[in-house]
Amino acid sequence: MEMFIQMLVAGILIGGVYALIGLGMTLIMGVMRIINLAHGQLMMVAMYITFALFQFFDLDPYFALLVAMPCLFLLGVVIQKYFLNPLLKIDSVIPQNQILMTVGIGIVLTETIRFIFRSDYKSVKTSYSTATFMIGNISWNVPMFVAFGLAVLLTTGLFFFLLKTDTGRSVRATAQNKDAAMILGINAEWITQLTYGLGAAMAAAGGTLLLPIYYLFPDVGGQFTLKAFVITVLGGMGSTVGAIMGGLVLGVAETLGATYISMDLKDAFGMVIFVLVLVFMPGGLKTLTKV
Amino acid sequence: MNFFETRRLTKAFGGLIAVNDVTFQVQEGEIYGLIGPNGSGKTTVFNLITGYYPITSGQVLFRGKEMNGFPTWKICKEGVGRTFQIVKPLRRMTVLENVMTSAFCRTNSATKAKDKAMEVLYFCEMEKKIDFPAKGLTIGDRKRMEIARALATEPKLLLLDETMAGLTPQEQAEGVELIRKVRNSGMTIIIVEHIMQVIMSLCDRILCINYGQEIAKGTPSEVANNHAVIEAYLGKE
């Protein structure tokens, strides 16, 4: 039982960070109706930025957030503006060409990073990387705990932006009905760029927060892209509250699955849950809450 | 036995009842009109008959056979053809290919399907446009192609959903002519239409609904003089 609670705690902590990554993708899904298959790769780029800052300027990963997030925001805006939006004007037999485009972008990002940093494993070893504290009989990993806290903070910030600011309302309006939003004078083109930028920045935050406890290599992005879309579908595509729940569910499922079933299949659990949800609950978790 | 009938047809979307207890009978060979103000549930009735939405309660009977729960494609096979209010051309196919696709409903042979398609296209006077890509057609031709496509499935009953909307008066007159020609070939037709002139000149009998409920039934002149109908269209005095 103690073991179970321990794993549950670990799952929820990592789930908080997953939720952050999933939120970014959900935002993009909601406004653009596309799955961003470059999401994990954007996250990976942010991780390398953080790594470089740590390596060359000795900057603490948590402070690097302040650099990595704006950088990824800009990168996201550029991708949306110059690579994704132009595709809307093309009449193609394959309607999913935007998704394919994100695949191409993902490959280029990975290879660019490989070119600069080589393929070998890197890690950011801080003084607190392995620190833990105890509450009762449960041990809490310090960087995970901090990551969870910051994830909650950033998520709250995002919700404040979406619910309370004019720009945030425009984003939600565009997600609901793009044409109507445009008629009402919302610059949909800019909103899509902003959204993609925000989505990328959220992914950047997730990546940076994971860095003190994760190994880093150029191909790390691929698995996080898969996690992110599992979360997005789990939550019900485009539902922000659903994405948070999806992140937590995935975190817990992975940790418990790895402990009780098989370590090797850790990454497969997410996929299996994903397919089950698609088949039995096509609306995702949000159908349970109606949010 | 009625050729086609609905019994107490009802459809609820969540709490909203879009079609409420609609019952009507259509006899073989007649043109039956379904009218009502915007949003009164006419197209929903068509979507229920053709299986696009599951029926909440009630029955749809075609030649004595209950069709509730049939998938859309099977209802077509049973002999009910339809057109869409918002036309749905197969955009990257030519006119001929569009009609051939539906002719395959009754045959597996490409030659036979082509012959059937050509026959229908001549009937609809579209033979000069067979090689046009469907996405480039004018709205009038698109509507005409919808009818041709429905006819090529060799239906016994044809459901026409606002085939005149958006047409010029000239095209409307040609459309009415085409529908008469279809009826004279022995087809039974149910028609949803907004343009009263068209309805009045074509239909043998009419059902008027509002808020999903029947408000009048009868011959065109009976319905046109009905108080409830006038109120529904023009509002209360």
Binding site: I107, D264 | K88
Partner: protein
């Protein structure tokens, strides 16, 4: 008519190729390209014609390859039995995938196919007692010469393209394109979209499975990360078809040869003429190609050919179902 002669000439060239070119290296490139003709055309049947964009064709390639491999490792029979069994086994997986995924539309469908491929990759990796896991399966190739493999691949490619060509001229072909263009309209015309999507998927998975079984026999080695690869099988299949022209019979064959040649150019650093770092950049080139093709050649080389060709010839192009312009 001109295109008919071009096709006959291309086929004649392909048949004579191994007799004219003695180099095993070039023969190998052509064998791989012919294999990609099969995979690309199969993907094209399901996606380009039927409109169901699969991000998981590695499922069928991997299953075909593993069927052949497991014939040797578990059943102790020749991997050539895989050429008989690979297609049908892949079809079984296709049927299962269809019954799960065809309930979904749009992005949901794309992602479900991708997820199933990933699940199979991870299972193949960890079920060591059955699949040998990450070690992969190693068999001894039957022929030392490339020529038998070449003609086998050519036969497979020919059979695949011809079958799809015939299908697209028939009722199935019309129904597939109708589903791609408008599923609601198709249903109203008496087409069971679920049934015909499944037909399309079954044919598609059969040929992709055959290609997988061929790969096992030809290469003599497979492992889960290669045959179930998202990028180098599933995405490559999409790219081959789109580069050549999705929804066009000659699109994938043209795309396959260009893709494989381009990849080889980079892998070999332009046959050793460019500096060595170029060979490390072949994945990068692959990514850039994805972007360029999607951005500037949405209809592919064959599809946009009238546009390119039209610069000096003024032939009127009539689009048709089988050319899905």
């Amino acid at each position: 008519m001109k295109s008919k002669y071009a096709i006959i000439a291309a086929i004649a060239l392909l048949v004579l190729f191994p007799l004219m070119v003695g180099s095993d290296y070039y023969r190998h490139i052509f064998i791989i390209a012919l294999m990609w003709v099969v995979i690309g055309s199969s993907w094209n049947l399901l996606a380009g014609y039927t409109g169901q964009i699969s991000f998981g064709h590695a499922i069928f390639f991997g299953v075909g390859a593993y069927t052949a491999g497991i014939c040797t490792t578990q059943l102790g029979i020749s991997a050539w039995w895989g050429m008989l069994l690979g297609g049908p086994v892949a079809m079984v997986f296709g049927f299962l995938m269809g019954s799960i995924c065809f309930r979904l539309r749009g992005s949901y469908f794309n992602l479900a196919t991708l997820a199933i491929a990933e699940i199979l990759r991870l299972v193949a990796k960890s079920w060591t007692s059955f699949t040998e896991g990450m070690m992969g399966i190693l068999t001894i190739q039957t022929f030392r010469s490339k020529v038998p493999y070449y003609f086998l691949a050519l036969g497979l490619a020919g059979l695949c393209v011809f079958t799809i060509y015939k299908i697209m001229k028939s009722k199935w072909g019309f129904y597939f394109v109708a589903i791609r263009e408008d599923q609601d309209a198709a249903e109203a015309l008496g087409i069971s979209s679920f049934r015909y999507k499944t037909y399309s998927l079954l044919v598609s998975s059969f040929f992709t499975g055959l290609a997988g079984a061929f790969y096992m026999n030809y290469m003599g080695f497979i492992d889960p990360d290669v045959v179930f690869s998202l990028y180098y099988i599933s995405i490559m299949a999409i790219l081959v078809a789109i580069l050549g022209g999705a929804g066009l019979i000659w699109g994938p064959p043209v795309g396959a040869f260009i893709m494989v040649l381009l990849q080889e150019l980079f892998r070999s650093a332009f046959f050793g003429m460019a500096p060595k770092w170029v060979s490390n950049a072949h994945a990068m080139a692959f990514g850039i190609l994805v972007i360029v093709v999607i951005r500037y050649m949405a209809n592919g080389i064959v599809g946009d050919w009238p546009k390119i060709h039209g610069l000096w010839a003024r032939e009127k192009v009539i689009p048709s179902a089988t050319s899905g312009n």
